[in-house]
Amino acid sequence: MRLVTALLAASLATPALADCPLDLGRGTGWVVFSGQYLMAFRPDPLRIEVGEPFALVVNVCTRSGDAAQLLAVDANMPEHRHGMNYRASLVSKGDGRFRAEGLLFHMPGRWEVTFDVAAGAESERLTHDIILK
């Protein structure tokens, strides 16, 4: 429901996004905005378990309609000053759709997930917090 609301808000606020592939399917996920980029992502499997590998299905696009790329996905725990013990690998599925494999949160708490995105020579880091209990 939250994703539907967010997607609706995004589509109303940015009419140029008609082609932006924010629909992840399965009716759930998160949407992250910046001045230039829009990104939607969801875990696979949907429920992230402490100590279990997971992937992120990521769709990214620009507000201007230019093609966007996902360069890297990582995560860290700011309170504990450490990152993941694993390095995610990326697979491009075309049209701004990506799959990041090999993530693993080895501790409960707040994880800050970072997404390095780019359109042309310009890159930007988007972040989103996931609280794992």
Partner: protein, 394 residues
Amino acid sequence: MRGLLLSLLFLVAVLTAGLIGVQAQTLLDWSPEEIRTIGHHGPWPPPPVRDPSNRVSGTAAGIALGRHLFEEPRLSGDGRMNCASCHQAGREWSDGLARGQGRTELDRRTPSLWNIGYLHWFGWDGAGDSLWAQSIRPLLDPREMNGGPTRAAELLRGDAALACGYEKAFGTKPGADDERLLVDTAKALAAFQATLVSPRTPFDDFRDALVAGNRETASRYPLAAQRGLRLFIGEANCNLCHLGPRFTSGEFGDIGIPFFVGPGMVDPGRLGGLQRLADSPFNLLGRYNDDATGDNTRRTRHVRRLHSNFGEFRVPGLRQVGRAGPFMHNGSLATLEDVVRHYSDVSPDRLHSDGTPLVRPLGLTVEQSGDLVAFLRSLDAQPPPRAAPAPLCP
């Protein structure tokens, strides 16, 4: 007069028993959040585990062969040492020594095998990404069993009972490929070790009752253990690493234990383990992984080798912990009280420079230290007796 005295004594006895009962059967005011957190440490036991990289994992014939091989001294170079020499059933599948004793004294403590089938990284440094790969190391290590690369194969081919057990487990007679038979020996050993699941404990009874809302049963759990548990999941943050039903993340940490193993010699811990993992022909990326899907290789493919891995060691599970000292990867702490004192007094200066601020001196009071120890001891239970193994091929 005598009747009056007896009546008075009886009355005193009844009142005393009642008071003791009231004092001993108390339940802390656990919050819903605390109950949810405690619930994550169970239920116990978990379902049996099966390793898809090992085709005899979870099979009766594989387990039976593995149990016989576990006690087989002919796997060692001098015919005098077997797996059970160090992993002793009567010592919580460890040896009670500060450092393992092979053909020489080793640098690290012999880890307990309880619940080892549920791990994803094996050895104190995680150099093994499967239980069978880890089981190969002591077979070959010149400081341990020193069996050499062909001994297991010669034994499986030459001993009628073991050859029969092999055929039952793997479906073929032992072949000519020595390395393949070494791996299969380790896979049978792993199948057996994965059956070593620790018994239910007083903590499990408490956890189940608390989650079910059964206050009467939950209140039988000693107050000191309850206070220790509250510290464990609260102020002390122990459960950030010692999490889940096995009380471990299965990952690695630097907790300020010195890593010098001799003059000018250090144990690099996880940093060295990751290098050995990458160099091993027996890792899950190699040809001996029985899982054709490759799903079980995700950790191995994505694990990072970081400078901060230096001096990190695997977070051990805590079930049966009070019965399996000495403690830490190098056996440097003799008692549970010493372990709690370490966390209470640890100097931040002893932590690796890139170390996480998760470990900090807790500054526990004497009562708090006692409570933590009481909680840890509630994770212990007497294992049931084990029947002798049946013959492989009667």
